[in-house]
Amino acid sequence: MSKTKSTIVLTLVCIITAALLAGTYMLTKDKIASQSENALTESLKEIIPDADKFIEETSGDTSYFIAIKDNIEAGYATTGEAQGYGGIIKTLVGVDLEGNILGVRILEQSETPGLGDKAKNPGFYNQFNNQKKNSIRLSKEGGSIDAITGATITSRAVIASVNDALATLSDAVGIQQVGEQ
């Protein structure tokens, strides 16, 4: 087969595939973008359900959210990260104006299925509700968070991730919620 024919066929294949790809990309890119936005918005609404809206602010190189209710600030939320057993655990933490934790949601985790990934069950993360910074330790260390059976590292990592978020908020809005007990 002649060289020109080879080149023509190759070019044609490249053009068709490039067109197909660009087309699919155009079709899907908005949906893809909104998917990650949705996950965050959904979680924000879950943690602070009576907020009318959330405003995003930046502080240094991190961002956080201010929950607005009836035109006044009602709470804050941000994400925190910590190294877990299988990868980074990313949590979303919401606090009220006194620094009480309103809720915690696990945004990303790659912990062991059946063990560490039980962190994504409400049974685990709801333990953080109404806690303050000092009491979010494992119960075997005097705190009020029961670790996931057989997944102490994951449990600790979630706590570290929540602390990371609290530290961000502390820097950003000065929440003194170290809950001196």
């Binding site: 790809l21 990309y25 057993y85």
Partner: protein, 191 residues
Amino acid sequence: MENLLALAISMIFVNNFILTKFLGLCPFFGVSKKTESALGMGLAVIFVMGIASAASWLLFNLILEPLDIEYLQIITFILIIAFLVQLVELFIKKYSEKLYNALGIYLPLITTNCAVLGVAFLNIQENLSFIGAIVGGISAGVGFLLALLLMSGIRERLELMEVPAPFKGLPIAFIVASLMSLAFLGFAGMI
């Protein structure tokens, strides 16, 4: 700047490409019967993974991302790898006829090796720097070689044993691999 040593240890032991991540299995079970071929294959893979990591990193960060055409990542990466493997093959053929004959059919197989394409994707996913990507690629290759050498050592001995009929060949190889994987699980949490 990420910790390069931790990265290397992670790629070689904790996240061993073959025994933990399951990348590069076909050659693992296919080549590992003799230690010499395992060594040759492993070294070739290390080399290809190193330059493929560098090339794909450059491609992604200098061209794909700035031009907002990240969706071409799959096509461009695999084409780069195919091209690099052809180059390596020509190079080896020219400079070492012996090595070329020893590696034989396994060289072009590196193109379809999940490990090479896999490490290229992983480097981008983990947001590694250019040096990090190269270190990552080479370490992953070292981990691959390590698993391959361990396996070939065991398989050489296995050939001399009485294996129950249904297990002969691949099944026993899988079970051996699962025991190796179990051992490597011990590295988890090390970093």
